[in-house]
């Protein structure tokens, strides 16, 4: 029986599979190298490493390279399978055959799915064998999950790429369309955010926080990140639906495709015009931002010229790429559309970001607030995942009102980033958790360092111990936590130490807030299966001191006191405590010595002090402070603030 009467045509299958055969062979080979072989190499000598435990999701962690290879393969697969649409002779030939377009596409898709699935199945079989022979720790379920996820990811990319193929004619253009479909939203948002950060002060430092919808719309990104963060079923379901819709649209576009336009670069001229306009806007932002970073201090005009040149250059490049010719034909409709899009963009961009950077929430709508004059260490994602509610955030109404006041003052005093005035500037980060559950973040970097609002920021914390910022006091007992690493890696502790620390935090609240907030902070870290978090906690917590005593290190080791070459003792009056710490951050050690009568310790006194500290004779409730230099300190004539070279601990 001849196959043309059956549903599937053997000849067409044979043709399509022949087209991508060697590509598939390369994919399979790279798959095997990227996963089973790499896995074997990584785990080969694990028995020689004492205490080695294999992470539960090692297979997924190791498969990032393989997933990326698979996505690249899926792109090329679609490009080569649909390449017959790019050339007049092949397009005419294929469409003169006695087979419907939908059937041709079905054959191409089925060939593609087979080319994705078969190498992955073979890889899965190799993994199974590897599990039996070498790595029994890999769960059977993990291999199954990996196989399904890999097939899913490759199929989604394949379907996006297939859809892109019906928009243009030309294999290089097809590749461009795929890249734009996958990365244009992220690239554009990155450029908008970058331009805004250059032109406005008051934007959150964390790009990721504002980018979740765009990142979720960037499938390659979420495909890889899910390997580490765990599979997000809802997100994958959304992408599966998108892929199904694109599959359907591919059939619709093919059905209505006009073969006579095969020599045109785009099947839909409006799409070309729209893309040129959008890309020109993106190019304008890229070059304008780069020029602004360099030249805004000198001239706003040069920045504007940078934006204009960026738009013109990108317009020409986009037209060259889209017309497949360096000698482009000017299309006035495209040109006008580009001008309109750029005009509309600026008309929205400037007021929107001005409004964004100037908006201050009403105190009544704020649930809690975090204000910092330091760089941000944590993302909202890590805060939610690894820390208790309230970490970093203070929900006291007075603190919230003060934070809002500081924010208002910052909005008044901010200027254009890069507009260098010659005065020292400082960073101000404000994060609000609103009563409606949303988060509002603002970062200012153009505020003068000596602005009164920074004194207010310090005062926010100095009414009592800043328990909200204490790392161990807020750390969750996370199931993925492996262990704790205390004092910059000197001591390891298990999870139970978190509870020990938390049980002893009440005392911290009773100590002198200036001392307990500004001295005795030691670095702690938590080690997770897929992550690592660190922060600062107080050495004045008795659980910490007990832990040091129980270990083979001393308190002075944790503070690097024994490597200190210069020590001073200060005993400021309680009333002078605020000024003392303000001066500690601004005066050099000589000026501080002079102003507060610091007493330099002799070698004998140093030894005596070290012994006392190692005996646990710390006194955060008092006013006797030991200023000690960091390791490798040498007295210089340079005018550094004391806090650059010296740390402080409260002693008896």
């Amino acid at each position: 029986m001849k196959s043309q009467t059956s549903l599937l045509n053997k000849g067409l299958f044979s043709h399509f599979s022949g087209t991508i055969f060697w590509l598939t062979v390369v994919f399979m080979a790279m798959n095997i190298i990227a996963l089973p072989l790499s896995l074997w190499i990584v785990t080969y000598d694990r028995d020689l490493i004492p205490g080695y435990t294999m992470p539960d999701n090692l297979l997924f962690q190791m498969s990032a390279g393989q997933i990326i290879i698979g996505m690249i393969f899926a792109v090329f697969l679609a490009m080569f399978l649909l390449n017959y649409l790019n050339d007049e002779a092949s397009s005419d030939f294929m469409h003169s055959l006695p087979i419907k377009r939908t059937a041709v596409l079905t054959h191409a898709l089925m060939t593609g799915f087979a080319a994705i699935t078969i190498p992955l199945l073979i890889t899965a079989v190799i993994l199974l064998l590897e599990r039996i022979v070498f790595i029994p720790e890999i769960a059977l379920m993990e291999i199954g999950k990996w196989l399904l996820y890999s097939i899913f990811v490759n199929c989604v990319i394949f379907l996006i790429s297939v859809f892109a193929g019906f928009l243009v004619n030309g294999i290089f253009l097809h590749l461009q369309m795929i890249l734009l479909a996958l990365f244009l939203p992220l690239a554009l948002w990155g450029l908008i955010y970058g331009a805004a950060a250059v032109l406005f002060d008051g934007i959150s430092q964390s790009f990721i926080e504002h980018s979740e919808p765009v990142l979720n719309a960037t499938f390659p990104y979420i495909a890889v990140t899910q390997l580490y963060s765990g599979l997000d079923v809802t997100l994958n379901l959304v992408w599966a639906i998108i892929a199904a819709v694109l599959l359907l649209l591919s059939f619709v576009l093919y059905r209505y495709r006009k073969n006579e336009y095969v020599t045109d670069s785009f099947n839909y001229q409006w799409l070309k015009s729209a893309l040129v306009a959008v890309l020109s806007t993106g190019g304008m932002l890229a070059m304008g931002t780069a020029v602004s970073l360099l030249f805004i201090p000198l001239s706003v005009t040069i920045s504007i010229v940078g934006f204009i040149i960026g738009a013109i250059v990108t317009y020409i490049i986009a037209e060259m790429l889209f017309q497949k010719n360096a000698k482009i034909d000017m299309n006035w409709k495209t040109f006008l559309l580009t001008l309109i899009v750029i005009g509309v963009f600026w008309a929205i961009f400037i007021p929107a970001w001005s409004n964004y950077t100037s908006s201050v929430p009403e105190a009544s709508k704020v649930d809690s607030v975090y204000v910092s004059s330091d760089y941000e260490y944590y993302t909202n994602i890590s805060i939610e995942e690894y820390f208790e509610d309230g970490f970093l955030y203070d929900n006291h109404p007075r603190t919230i009102q003060n934070a809002v006041n500081i924010h208002e003052a910052a909005v008044q005093e901010k200027s254009v980033p890069g507009n260098y005035s010659g005065e020292e500037t400082a960073i101000l980060n404000i994060k609000y958790k609103m009563t409606d559950g949303t988060v509002m973040s603002r970062s200012f970097s153009t505020l003068k360092a000596d602005a009164p609002l920074f004194a207010d920021v310090n005062n926010l914390k100095n009414s009592q111990y800043d328990i909200n910022s204490d790392f161990l006091a807020n750390l969750k007992q996370h199931p993925d936590m492996i262990d704790l690493i205390l004092f910059s890696g000197m001591v390891n502790a298990d999870k139970s130490f978190i509870d020990d620390y938390k049980e002893n935090t009440d005392a911290l609240m009773s100590y002198n807030p200036y001392i307990v907030n500004q001295t005795g902070q030691v670095e702690m870290s938590a080690n997770y299966k897929n992550n690592y978090e660190s922060g600062f906690s107080s050495i004045y917590n008795s659980a910490v001191l007990d832990r040091i005593h129980a270990s083979d290190i001393s308190v002075s080791d944790t503070l690097f006191l024994d490597q200190s070459s210069a020590m001073y003792v200060a005993e400021p009056e309680q009333a002078d405590m605020a000024d003392f710490f303000t001066d500690y951050h601004s005066l050099n050690i000589e000026e501080l010595t002079e102003k507060y009568n610091l007493k330099a310790l002799s070698e004998a006194e140093k030894e005596e002090t070290l012994t006392a500290v190692n005996n646990g004779e710390l006194a955060p409730e008092g006013n006797k402070l030991l200023l000690f230099s960091y390791p490798n300190y040498t007295a210089t004539s340079e005018d550094y603030a004391a806090d650059i070279d010296f740390s402080i601990i409260a002693i008896q």
Binding site: K2, S3, Q4, T5, N9, K10, G11, L12, S14, H15, G18, A89, S90, D92, F93, H95, S96, L97, P98, I99, K100, R101, A103, K258, N259, E260, Y261
Partner: protein, 301 residues
Amino acid sequence: MKLAVNGADKSFGKKKAVEHIDLSVEEGTIHGLLGSNGAGKTTLMKVMSGIYKADTGSVTYDDNNIFENPSVKSDVIFMHDIPFFFKGATLKKMAKFYKTMYKNWSDDRFRQLAAHFGIVTDKQLNQMSKGMKRQAAFILAFSARPKVMLLDEPFDGLDPIMRKQVKNILMQDIANHNMTVVASSHNLREMEDLCDSVSIMHDGKILYHKELTDIRGTHCKLQIAFKELPGDEFFTDLNIVHHKTKGRIITCIVKGNIDQLEEKVTKYNPLMYDILPLTLEEIFTYEMGELGYEISNIIVE
């Protein structure tokens, strides 16, 4: 299969490549589609083969529309002006592909034709000469045993012997299998001895469509020499529709009953005369001239 094109239009943007074409080709005949480059022949052929969809109008084979209709397309083969083969394909591989596509494919015929034309079936087609590729395309088309063949500039690249052989096979298939053929060409002489009917296309329109047997039965060429040139009554009496006079020799195209022509001619006492059949070019020179077109502007040799 009877081919019928009814009011077909095809535009490329604002330019109409094919404009309101009505064409009917009877089963078992060869129709020549003539016209200069850019006349719209290839576009019309692509519309007729179902590659392009007519913007308006229809293309039917035995009253069945061809566009996206595999059952009709399996009986219609379109041979492009530049034969297309898959990259790296041999004639054998292409034959294997055609076999899965066309229900009447004949392996025996393929073997016979490949042997007849002397084409190596295992050699990559894209490495062959233009003429060899053309022969390979004919082998594949003939082996598929279609009911209709649409040939776009089919004899380009073939040497005279091959042309003759291809034409012979074409004629055999028409005679034996009642195959219908539409062949486009810009070369009048090429189609001279092949077509039963012809159409001339110009600027996307069919200017002229006629059965050649009709023309040849009613028109002839008369070359006649006189001692003294006759008066105007000679031209009206013989129903001469076109003439050229050189000295005392008149070359003219005569319309009407050719059987009685000799009798009428002798009445004017010519020194000598000769009655000849018309070539295609002469027919069109006359017919197109009547329509107000200069044939040399339409068909370029």
